[in-house]
Amino acid sequence: MGEISVRAGGAAGDGIASVGETLAHSLSRMGLHVFGHNAYQSVIRGGHVWFQARASTAPTHSQGDACDILYALNKETADVHLPSLSRGGTVVFDPEKFDIPASQLPAGTKALPVKTLEIARKFTSQSILQNAGGLGATAFLAGIPLDVLQASLADSFGKKKGDVVDWNLGASADGYAFAQANSAANDHAVAKAGEPKLLMTGNAAIALGAAAAGCKFLAQYPMTPASSIMHWMAAHSRDIGVVVKQAEDELAAINMAIGASYGGVRSMTATSGGGFALMVEALGMAGMAEIPLVVVESQRSGPSTGLPTKTEQGDLNMMLGAGQGEFPRAILAPANAVEAYRAAIRAFQVAEEWQTPVLLASDLHLSENYMTVDRSEIDLNVEIPSLFSVQPNGHDYKRYQYTPSGVSPRSLPGQVGLQWIAGSDEHDEKGHLISDVKSGIPVWVAERTKMMQKRMGKLAGIGRSTEPPRLEGPADAPLTFVAWGSTVGAIRDAMVTLAAKNVATNLLQIRTVFPLHVDVLEAAIDRAKTTLLVEANYSGQLGRLIRAETGRHLTNRLLKYDGEPFYPYEVVGKALEVLGHGRN
C-alpha cells in the first residue's frame, strides 16, 4: 500500500487552496484515493490556512494524522506544522523569506530550501507566482509526474490562456527540476495506480445529487459552509435548467423553496446552523401543509456564530426539535462524497413520496473537503416521476384525504378543477380550516386528532424509505464504534490502523439520524461487545438520541468540540484505551 500526505500552509490570500487543490487533483488523476482537507479561518487575507492532500492506493477516509511533505509558505506554517512532519519527511520553504533552524526539525526529517521567489522573478514581478515553484518541488517529492502536475495546474486556470498560465507552468517545472536535482523523492512517494478518479467536495456531491434527483429550484442565503452548494448550482444553472435564487435572508430562502415546491417543482434550500435557526418556523409549515422540501444543514462550530470556518456536529438537537408542535421529518446523515450524492437523491425521493420536509445533515468537514469517487459510483440515471399524477375529480378533490399510508393525492396549481388551499393552520381533508370557527367543537376536535395521526403516521413509512444503521467490519469484533456523518471517516481510517495492530473493530454507522430504525439499532447495540460513541460535539447528541429511542446508554465516548476534525490517531488511542490496551 502506497500512501502519502502533502501539506501546504500560509496566510489567507496566499493561494494555499489552489496549491492544495492542484496537488489533490494531480493525485486523483493518478488513480489514487485522495482526501483533501482545506483548513481556513474566518478572515479573507492573513491569518493561517493550510491544505492537506492525502493519497493512497487504498481508500482514504480522512485527512490522516501527519504529513510526509510540508510546503511552508511562511514561518507560522513551519512553527505550527513541523511537529506533524513524519519521519523521513521533508519541509519545503524559501530561505529568502525565513529560515528553519535545524533544531526545529523533528528527528528524521529534512528541509529542502527552494528559492521560489527567485524562480518566480524569472517570469514576473508578481510574487504570487512563487507558489508554482514550491508546488513543483513538492510534487516531485510526492512522486507526482511533472506532466500530471502541469495538466492539473493548467486546468485549474479553466479556459484562461496566456502569460499567467505559461509562467506557472514554467516556474513549476523549475521547482520540480530543482527538487529532483537536490533531493530524493519521499520514501512514500506514490505512483500512478489506475484510471483517474473524480475529486469532489461534499457540497458539490450534494448539489450534483440534487440536480440528478430533479431539483429545479434552489433558494439560499450565503453561509459557510453551505455557500458552495449555491455556487455550484449557480455556475451550472443555465446549463442544467435549475433556477438559483440568492434570497434576502434564510427566512425568504426556505419560504421561496416551499412556494416553488407547491408551485410544482422539486426544490431545496441549504444553510448552516444560524441560517437553519431562521428556517425553523417555515419547516413546520412544510410539515403541516405537507409540502415536499429538502433542506441541507451543514453544521459548523457553535454556539451562535462560534467558529464559522471550523467543523462540528452540534446541531442535531436543533434539527430534531426544529418547529413548534409535531410533524414528520427525516434527517439523513451521509459520511462522504458518494454517500452525500446518494443522500441528496434519497432526500428528494423521501420528501416527495412522503410529502414532508427532509433534512440532509452535513458539516463543514464533509461539505468543504475533497474526496475521491469512482466514476462508476455516480449514477446520473435517476428515475424522476411526473408530479402531475392526480386526475381531476372536481369538487370532491381532497388534498388531505385520509389514506392508510398517510399520503394524500397532490395536485399542482394550473391543474384544472383540483384547486386547494395549502395552509399552516389545522385543516380537514379538503384543506378547510379547523382552526377558526370549528375549533373546540367536539366533532372537529376528533377530526384534528385524526389529522395529526394521519401526518404523524407517515413516520412509519419514512422509516421504510430511509437507510437503517449499517454495521461495517467483522461482526464479532470486540469494539463497535457508533457514529454519524463525517466523523465516520476518521473511524474508517482508524479501523485500518487498528486492524494492522490486530485489533478488530466494527462500525455501526447511523445513516438516518431520524427516524431511527429502532429494531435494527437495538439489535446491533445489544450484539456489540463494547461500544464507543464518537461525535464532534460536547454532549454526545446522537448518544442522547439513541438512549431516548432505545434506552441503550453508550457510556464510552470520544467527544470533541474544538472545531478540528477527528484525527484517526485520536480514535485509535481511545479505542485501545476502552479495550484496555492502554494508549499507544
Binding site: 486523483s28 478518479k197 473524480l198 475529486l199 450534483l208 440536480a211 440528478a212 434527483a213 430533479g214 429545479k216 433558494a219 444553472s237 443555465r238 442544467i240 435548467g241 433556477v243 435564487k245 434570497a247 427566512l251 425568504a252 430562502a253 419560504n255 421561496m256 423553496a257 416551499i258 412556494g259 416553488a260 415546491s261 407547491y262 408551485g263 410544482g264 417543482v265 422539486r266 426544490s267 418556523e281 417555515a282 409549515m285 401543509a289 466514476r375 455516480i378 446520473l380 435517476v382 424522476i384 411526473s386 408530479l387 402531475f388 399542482l412 396549481p413 394550473g414 391543474q415 384544472v416 378543477g417 384547486q419 386547494w420 388551499i421 395549502a422 399552516s424 378547510h432 380550516l433 370557527v437
Partner: protein, 299 residues
C-alpha cells in the same frame, strides 16, 4: 417530468374553464369588516380579466385579512405570518404562467414582513400584492400596527403610539415597485379597477387597500376615510412622474389620495432569469440523465 410528454400546466387556451368565484367557505370576518370589500374587488378583477380559477394562486400570511384565499375558488397558500411574499415568489418562479396574487395585513406585510416587502419590490417580480391595511393588528385583538397613527391608543400602546407610521406608498416608491396604488374598501369599484390594472401590469404591482377594522380601530373608520379620500386620477396627477408620486405619497391627514401613484415599465425578474426563457420551470425536463459530461470537471 423527465422528457416532454408530462402533462402541461400551461394555460389551456380555447377551452371555457371556470372563472373565479366564491368558495364553499363563508368569510369569518366581523360584519362590516373592510376585508369584504377587498375580496369582492379581487373577485371582480379576476372575473373581468377572465383568468380561469385554476390559473390563479392567492397567497397570504396570517391575520384576519390573510384568511382571504379560503373564500375564493382558486388555488391558494395560506402561509405563515409575514412570509406571503417569498412563498408567492417561489410559486411564480416554479410556474410563471400562473397569476399570483399575494394578500394580507399591514402587520403581516409591513411589520414582520417588511424585509421581504422591500426585496420583492426591487426584484420587480411580476405579481400583485394587495395589503388589507387596517392600521391595526386585528386577529391578535387590537395591538398597534406599523401603520397605526401617532398617538393611537391600543392594547400594546395604552398611552398612545410613539413611532411614526410606515408609509407603504413611499416605501414602495423607494424600493422600486413599478405599479403603486392606494385603494379603499369603501370604493370597491375603484379597488377592482386598481387590482385589475395591477394584474395586467408587467412587474410588481402593489395596492395598499385601506380596509377598516370595525372592531379594533376606532380612529381610521370608513367615515374617517370617506371624509378624506380623493382620487388621483381626477387631480391631474401624472403616475409616470416619480417625483410627483413621491410628493403625493407625503399627503396623509386631511386629504388621503387614492388611485394610481406610480407606474413604470421595467423588465421583470422572470424576463431576466434566463432559465425561465425555456418556459415554465414546472414544465421543463428535470434530472441529469445522459449528462455524464458534467462529471468531467471533477477530474
Amino acid at each position: 417530468m423527465a422528457g416532454t410528454s408530462a402533462p402541461s400546466v400551461a394555460p389551456t387556451v380555447g377551452t371555457l374553464l371556470p372563472l373565479i368565484g366564491k368558495s364553499d367557505t363563508k368569510p369569518t370576518w366581523c360584519p362590516g369588516c373592510g376585508d369584504f370589500g377587498v375580496v369582492a374587488a379581487v373577485e371582480m378583477a379576476l372575473k373581468r380579466l377572465k383568468i380561469p380559477s385554476h390559473q390563479v394562486v392567492l397567497v397570504s400570511g396570517i391575520g384576519c385579512s390573510s384568511n382571504l384565499p379560503h373564500f375564493l375558488s382558486s388555488y391558494g397558500f395560506h402561509s405563515i405570518h409575514g412570509r406571503s411574499l417569498p412563498v408567492a415568489e417561489g410559486i411564480r418562479w416554479a410556474n410563471h404562467t400562473l397569476t399570483v396574487i399575494a394578500t394580507g395585513g399591514d402587520g403581516d406585510g409591513f411589520g414582520i414582513g417588511a424585509g421581504h416587502f422591500i426585496h420583492t419590490m426591487r426584484r420587480n417580480v411580476d405579481m400583485t400584492y394587495v395589503t388589507m391595511d387596517n392600521q391595526i393588528y386585528g386577529l391578535t385583538t387590537g395591538q398597534a400596527s406599523p401603520t397605526s397613527m401617532m398617538g393611537q391608543k391600543t392594547k400594546s400602546t395604552p398611552a398612545g403610539v410613539i413611532e411614526n407610521p410606515i408609509d407603504p406608498i413611499s416605501l414602495a416608491l423607494a424600493a422600486g415597485a413599478t405599479y403603486i396604488a392606494r385603494a379603499f374598501s369603501g370604493d370597491v369599484k375603484q379597488m377592482a379597477d386598481l387590482v385589475a390594472g395591477g394584474i395586467q401590469h408587467k412587474g410588481f404591482a402593489f395596492i395598499d387597500a385601506m380596509s377598516p377594522c370595525v372592531t379594533y380601530n376606532k380612529i381610521n373608520t370608513f367615515d374617517w376615510f370617506r371624509q378624506r379620500v380623493y382620487k388621483l386620477e381626477n387631480s391631474g396627477h401624472d403616475p409616470t412622474d416619480i417625483v410627483q408620486a413621491w410628493q403625493r405619497s407625503l399627503e396623509w391627514g386631511d386629504k388621503v389620495p387614492t388611485g394610481l401613484f406610480y407606474k413604470a415599465d421595467k423588465p421583470t425578474y422572470e424576463d431576466l432569469e434566463e432559465v425561465l426563457t425555456a418556459g415554465p420551470l414546472a414544465n421543463q425536463p428535470a434530472g441529469l440523465k445522459g449528462r455524464e459530461s458534467l462529471l468531467d470537471e471533477f477530474i
